[in-house]
């Protein structure tokens, strides 16, 4: 029991930077490059943690609190997500609301830190982040409501637990629609192509990366680490939704889960390789489309 909990915390804290390495490696292979090592994320974090920071004269404590609050909120959210075949460390009725609002808290803190610099670039990034998030949020909640209806459970562990496999046989169309919507939300929330391009920095069309332009050293490490955990969380949601983890063997479920996550990262990498970034005014259409898909899913279940 304790071993499993430790494993969950370990996988939550250690695995995330690897996933971004997988995404980058897939993009490199598709583009015909060799790409950075898979463990580049860890090297970056280690380097940044040893470096000093530069603070703008304009900033206040809000700027310094942003990365800390963002990381703490994302990590707290992670304790409610069932990792591998197990229920989450904390599980209760309605935990998914807290999960989503903790991610919102992280966003709130990061956006305020961006505005604290007084830079118009970072203002643009913050504006786009909160605007697109307000369109992604209903889609996320609709997906979770569909799961709640399909499995009859109100906690993340129950929604993504043993009740899900029978639900797939009964309500496959609805779950498939919401899985697609969830994937779109995951791309948007994690600032991946086609919503945002994480590999460039100084482009006026940037969203997340431009918000953190002024952060440096350990602050930037906190932000990058928090972003990778967030990517992991959405990946875990998606993997638990589409993969049946009732695998035999002592650590079978855990191995299948990790393999699923790597598969999710490969999928994201392929999407990033084969799609162009959307024009900014097309992003809301895509997110509203995801909400509409999940409303259809809900109607299928409630009719």
């Amino acid at each position: 029991m304790i071993l499993r909990a430790l494993f969950q915390i370990g996988i939550l804290l250690l695995l995330p930077p690897l996933l971004l390495g997988v995404v980058n490696r897939v993009k490199a292979i598709v583009a015909g490059r060799r790409g950075p090592p898979l463990l580049q994320g860890y090297y970056d974090l280690a380097k940044l943690l040893r470096k000093g920071s530069v603070y703008s004269r304009t900033t206040t404590w809000v700027f310094r609190a942003g990365p800390v609050v963002g990381l703490a909120a994302v990590a707290t959210a992670g304790t409610m997500l069932p990792v591998a075949g197990q229920p989450a460390i904390f599980s209760f009725s309605g935990d998914f609301v807290l999960f989503a609002y903790l991610l919102a808290l992280a966003r709130f803190a990061t956006a305020l830190a961006a505005l604290d610099t007084g830079s118009s670039f970072e203002g643009m990034g913050a504006a786009r982040e909160v605007s697109f998030a307000s369109m992604a949020e209903p889609a996320l909640f609709l997906c979770l409501v569909v799961l709640a209806r399909a499995t009859g459970s109100l906690s993340l562990s129950g929604m993504l637990g043993p009740g899900l496999a029978p639900a797939w046989s009964g309500a496959a169309p609805a779950l498939l629609l919401s899985a697609i919507a969830l994937f779109v939300v995951a791309l948007a929330e994690n600032s991946r192509i086609p919503v945002d391009d994480p590999s460039t920095h100084l482009e006026l069309t940037m969203i997340h990366e431009v918000m953190v332009l002024d952060h440096s050293g350990p602050d930037l490490a906190f932000i990058l680490y928090g972003a990778s955990i967030k990517f992991f969380l959405f990946g875990a949601l998606f993997v638990r939704l589409v993969l049946d983890l009732r695998v035999q063997g002592i650590w079978g479920a855990e191995a299948a889960f990790v393999a699923g996550l790597v598969g999710f990262a490969v999928l994201v990498g392929l999407v990033e390789s084969f799609m162009a970034r959307l024009r900014l005014n097309r992003v809301p259409q895509m997110l509203v489309g995801a909400s509409v898909l999940s409303v259809f899913a809900l109607v299928l279940l409630l009719r």
Binding site: V54, Y55, S56, A127, R128, L142
Partner: protein
Amino acid sequence: MAPVIGALAIASVVLASSSGLPGLALWRRPVLGQRLSAGVLCLAAVLGIVAAVPVLAGAAPFVLHTPWGQPNASLALRLDPLSALFLVPVLLVPALGSIYGLAYFPQASLGARAVRLQLWYGLVTGSMALVLLSDNAMLFLFAWEVMAVCGFFLVLADPDRKDAQKAAWVYLVAAHAGTFAILAFFSIVGSARGTFDFAGWQHLGATGAKASWLWTLALVGFGLKAGLVPLHFWLPGAHAAAPSHVSALMSGVLLKTGVYGILRATGFFESPPASWGVALLVLGGASGVLGVALALAQHDLKRLLAYHSVENIGIITMGVGLAVLGRARGEPALVLLGFAGAALHVVNHALFKSLLFLGAGSVQHAAGTRDIERLGGLSRAMPFTAGLFLVGAAAISGLPPLNGFVSEWLVVMGSLRALDLPPGDRASFAVLVVPTLALVGALAAACFVKVQGTVFLGKPRTSEAAAAHESPRAMLVPMGVLAAACVAIGVLPAVFLPALARGAASWSGLPLSTLAAPAAAATASAGMVSGLAVLLLALVASLTFLRRRLGPGAAVGETWGCGYAYPTARMEYTGSSFAQILNQGFRWVLFPRVRFQPPRGPFPASARFSTEPREAVLDLTILPGIRGYGSAASRVRALLAGRVHFYALLVLATLVFLLAWRLLWW
């Protein structure tokens, strides 16, 4: 126990109503007079809250019934858990506001204006408390009317300002239109029942069109006070024009008397139909989304906050709608969670909205403007105000670990209970409250990132903002108390659930034992929310500690401007630019007035662009309607200029018309 509670409650009403008198009596010693006034109001609040707490903890409700000389009226008072839930914020917020007023609206420098304000301020507090305690329709209407008139004089605290005059008149007209609907509702029910005591109004039949029309009357009357869309038109102007501690009172608690009225009126009916619940859900959803959409477009800090009241009333109404739906379908979990979410949000909104209005008052006090585009960088000059405002901003955005999250979570949990209804029941679509709340919460967060960022962060945009100063302690302490209450409810929500369950039982008429099972489940989950809130705070603390030990140290520089070395405050992103994407999406409700002077020629001299949101209901519907009616009426009046032969012609025309009608159609 009950007599003590009653004595405390009555003393509280009397003391609050007369709390402006010391300021008037000690006219020549303004500082002492104002302090005494504030002291009396605080004492009234303490007495009232001491009376309310045992009722919420399970003591028998206090009931008093004495005859009164007026027709149909009696001095009937009742303090049951439903009243008590509202009584606590209704007394707490004005008391803190009066302390704030010591520095914000000092009698020493403002003289008679401050004395008048304190008189109305105390009287409105007393009358709000009396509205909650009334157990007789006539007494209720009396208190309601006093409250409405006090509101008029409070908005008109600065009688020479044009915007205050207009806002106060619109408020007065709207308030009386509402009173008219309530009067009609009370008269119909009272004459049907033969008594005007609420005690005799239980178990009204709720079936049939007549009952629905009756309930609609109450909904319009109380909805006007609460500010439900589209009846919210009077609210932004009035709340923006009033002094800030008055805005805090009006937005924080005066609106809630409308919610109380909706709850009370719906409670009279025996098993209200599901359609009433659906109507409340739709109205609440519309108020929530449109309120925050309109708020996003505002530049005036207090108008923006006022529109957020519309949004929060929408959230509360959705909770009430769920509870009504639960009564219609006999689902105690729906009743409990919907009511608990609504009632807790009433308290929470009172706390964080008055915190935000007091913060806005401090900003106006320090920088002399409410226009957020002229502010910026205030957190350097006023760090405490900025920090406390941030707590309120996070709370109203529904972020954990603060109180706004808890009540929104309860409403979400309630609407998820709609999934338990039997398959095929259309009422299970009430679960759409969940994505609606998600949208409203995310938009509110976007709006408050805009406010906090534009007002307090970055660089000062004008010299007034640069010259701002921190507020005196009398203004900071009430804000601190409100912020602490926001954190306390957010971290320990389970403590408040038993009281909310008692309120739900007293409102719905269901026995407490039926509600016990869902209440226990909600309490268990709320305990987990507390645990995770503590985990979050602990993680923040330990990461802050860790962060201090990491890295060789910090250098200070200029904000990275992509190579541009001399950024100025004029290059900062403004609040309007920040909200532009979302405003674009909501332009179908905003009807902005755009003034655009584009740059012309190869060497353009000047170019301007400004947008100003308009109030769709007031500015585009009601006022043009009244103006059109006025001009049509004056045209008719021009005909009737005293020419007798014309009158004779009119009489003849009428006669011919009647004859023709008789011959052709009758």
